[in-house]
């Protein structure tokens, strides 16, 4: 039953209330509407995903055989540096912010973000940052010391002392810009979530996606500026004669690593928590049951956020300069709230009535793959084992299982789930399933063998390896897997194009979903809602549509742990 009436004249571009139509391009360039800005975040981020993905293909193609075939050492070094930097700062973090931008105001029943103009500014800093980063190719070379850019290497340049070019400076400036974009976004999201919830929506009735966004944005707010200070110090060392990281002039080389990882570790939770929020939205809908252990979930998320600030030096065990037992303990501990979430997710599905639509497939895929990534991380929490596995392909396996198996699967889940909300049409299920299975196969073929390579001693960031190690076969297998991943994007892109061109629409709540974004038209009008249902739990729409059935169903818990009623 429609709460908000679809207005025939309402179109994505133009403001009918003002009585004139704006040119679509101008409309998109100057919009401050969170839905349009959200779409732009999604599109911009996916484009960079493609660019960084192409770089991954180049890397894997070069590594398939020993010897140099296509990319020499310096080109290879630039490739993995740009691949990592782009994926993290121009894809994963912003695409999750894009979902948050579109969905959070809708889920809390607000009409926009707290600061719409700052929202637009946050977005536009991203393509600008991307252009600055990539302009390195025009000035003799991009940054080349890995996305972590450790000094003294990042101060001296990769081809020997005094070889520093403009590339790393462009990297610094781009990241300062992108970081500022994130911080402004954090101010916006936190204010929106605290101040703009609809009447009846207490904090503990917010959808879980909003909670994960809240914790994520608190991490962004507090950690990103620390990275900014490190970037500033690096820029000063490189260009103004500073010596923060130069031991010859009183600086400390390893201090960069401490400041860098103080940010970059919380950053990995920024990269995955909203994805967990997406999975927490999808599983209840396609199990037809509420999220199990809502409050525990909130505390686990907050706990991960807080603990995430105390583990940074586990990236530095091999430096011989950090207090091993403290960081090892905190790292082991962070597995506990993550485990709680897993059991909550499984319990959500347990005794439910599951439907395997494409979003549900990707959500379950997330569970299976992130599990592996979490488990192989526990090995690295143990310093002596880390001495053997650090800086080897085991770490590359771990990070891709959590970031690709985790975040990317969650992103696709969210995309298939909310596409009908953005456009009024569901994506084709057949193509969606093809995409899912191709990606599952390609992804595991590429990254699971990396555990073995790491155990066999292959270090990371090497352009070449010796044939005598018998690493060639595994490398070839991984390259084949990478090509399958590339192929898997074809049914996805075809699906999107096809569906957008379709004239027929689907209903406005095709999944019989629970939360407020589905209580309006698909896509929503500019002001989001004409009116809202009463809010008494975290599933206001579900409560509304299934009131009779819920009354018949006695609550099946022994003791409930949520304030749902």
């Amino acid at each position: 039953m429609a709460i908000t009436e679809a207005r025939p004249e309402a179109s994505p571009s133009g403001s009918p209330a003002l009585g004139y139509q704006r040119h679509p391009i101008w409309e998109w360039l100057t919009t401050t509407n969170h839905k349009k800005i959200g779409i732009m975040y999604l599109v911009n981020s996916y484009i960079f995903f493609g660019v960084a993905g192409l770089m991954a293909m180049f890397i894997r193609t070069e590594l398939a055989q020993p010897g140099t075939q296509f990319f020499n050492e310096q080109q290879f070094n630039e490739l993995f540096t740009m691949h990592g930097t782009t994926m993290i700062f121009l894809f994963v973090i912003p695409i999750l912010a894009g979902f948050a931008n579109y969905i959070v105001p809708l889920q809390i029943g607000a009409l926009d973000m707290a600061f719409p103009r700052v929202n637009a500014l946050s977005f536009w800093m991203l393509p600008l940052g991307g252009v600055i980063l990539y302009s390195g190719y025009l000035v003799g070379g991009t940054a080349c010391a890995g996305w972590t850019e450790y000094p003294p290497l990042s101060e001296q340049g990769c081809t020997g002392a005094g070889s520093a070019g403009l590339g790393a400076d462009l990297w610094v400036v781009a990241l300062l810009l992108i970081g500022t974009s994130s911080i402004l976004g954090a101010v916006n999201f936190i204010t929106t979530i605290f101040n703009m919830r609809a009447p009846g929506m207490t904090m503990f009735r917010m959808p879980m996606f909003c909670w994960t966004v809240l914790v994520t944005q608190l991490l962004v707010l507090l950690a990103t500026p620390v990275f900014a200070s490190a970037l500033v110090m690096l820029l000063i060392d490189r260009n103004l004669g500073g010596s923060f990281f130069d031991p010859a002039k009183g600086g400390i080389a390893v201090m960069w690593q401490n400041i860098f990882w103080f940010y970059s570790h919380p950053a990995v939770y920024v990269m995955v928590l909203p994805g967990m929020g997406i999975v927490s939205e999808i599983l209840p809908v396609f199990s037809r049951k509420p999220l199990f252990g809502y409050k525990a979930f909130v505390f686990a998320t907050a706990g991960i956020g807080a603990l995430g600030f105390s583990v940074w030096a586990h990236h530095m065990f091999a430096t011989g300069t950090v207090l091993l037992p403290f960081f090892s303990l905190m790292t082991f501990l962070i597995a506990v709230p993550t485990g709680v979430k897993f059991f909550n997710w499984i319990s959500t599905m347990w005794k439910g009535k599951l439907t395997f639509t494409t979003p549900m497939l990707f959500a379950v895929g997330f569970l299976s793959m992130f599990l592996i990534g979490g488990i192989d991380g526990v090995f690295l929490a143990s310093p002596p084992v880390d001495f053997a596995l650090h800086d080897t392909y085991w770490v590359i396996a771990h990070l891709h299982y959590v970031l690709f198996g985790g975040s990317v699967f969650a992103v696709y889940a969210g995309f298939y789930y909310w596409f009908p909300k953005f456009t009024g049409r569901k994506l084709n299920e057949g193509l969606g399933k093809l995409h899912f299975w191709l990606q599952m196969i390609g992804f595991n073929l590429t990254f699971f063998p990396m555990h073995i390579l790491g155990l066999l001693g292959m270090p990371r960031r090497v352009q070449d390896y010796l044939p005598l190690h018998d690493w060639t076969g595994i490398n070839q297998l991984q390259t084949v897997g990478a090509y399958i991943i590339a192929v898997s994007t074809a049914p996805f892109l075809a699906n999107v194009v096809m569906t957008l061109r379709r004239k027929t629409r689907d209903e406005e709540n095709p999944w019989d979903a629970n939360t407020l974004e589905w209580a309006t038209t698909s896509p929503p009008p500019p002001h989001n809602f004409d009116s809202l249902p009463e809010i008494h739990s975290e599933r206001p729409l579900f409560d509304l549509h299934h009131a009779d059935e819920l009354a018949v169903h006695a609550d099946a818990t022994t003791t409930s742990t949520t304030g749902a009623h």
Binding site: C158, L371, R460
Partner: protein
Amino acid sequence: MRRWQGKGTGSRLRGVALALGGALLLAGCSGGSFPGATEQAKPVHHLYMILFVVATAIFLLVEGLILWAVLRYRRRDDALPPQFHGNNLLEVGWTLGPFVIVAVLFALSFQVISKVDAEASNPAVTVNVTGFQWQWEFTYAGEKVKVEQGQPPQDLSIKGTTTKPPQIYLPVGETIHFNEQSKDVIHSLYIPEFLFKRDLIPGHTNSFQITISKPGVYHGQCAQFCGLAHGQMHFYIHAVSRPQFDAWLADQKKKAASGCPQDTTPGQIVAKNTAYDKDCLAEPANKPFTLTFDNQDAGVPHNVTIFNGRDAKSGALLQQPPFPGPKIEKYQVRALKPGRYFYHCDVHPNSMTGTLVIQ
């Protein structure tokens, strides 16, 4: 048939589960890790195996629950399932359970850290490792080499080049102490079969000790990205019996003290892959000679600057501007008195060095 009454996905999922389980079983037999060739590596391997067993168990349990839920609870009708929100007992249980598991794993790790990081007070051999872009120099502390009249003896030093990585020998079963320093950027000394690595950080000295338990040749390479030829910074440790080690030491000292037996192509030196093809040149005394320098590195500038003494601080006696390859230049060197003259490339003074021996 309703949309959600799908059939194919269930059996497909079962197939994937079997394949996964099979692969894991195969991996499980060996765990995949090297057994560890040092006394310190043995507890590390043991700890790895414990982690592996726990990891496999957790994986099978959780993945099993996911698969079970996915297969068992498919939607077959329109009625709502029981709408339970939580269960305090279960939730406390699966918070405490993992907490206990990680606490135990931490305690085990803590024990092994103490074994790995322990340092005895009287090691049998002390090796000072210097890392630089892009090779290694291993110096045996206390093993003096008498070089020539009037010069103090130096510690025996084995320096590698990209084309000739260092082959260093160490005695089995004895405590070896390593001190690490870096000349430029951060490197990392990694020996996979020792299950160990430790970074080399400029401005800071790291040290560790190992006792090799099995004779063999162990490959190592740099594991901290350090620039262009990071992937080519190999080295090899030959672990041998004490008599063999002593014999090798004596032989190395003799080679270092004598002239330059490695110079099979006198009067010529080549630069390739940012390395000289030889670290030692031999020429007769009191006679001017021509040194032919072949720079085979396309676009990379090199030269050969010869100094008056044993290092670059002693003033150059021959210094021509560096030039990019591919190109050959002939240096005319004046007559020199007997002695040892240091040479290096001005552009790559750390990695391209050698000694001109005049006898």
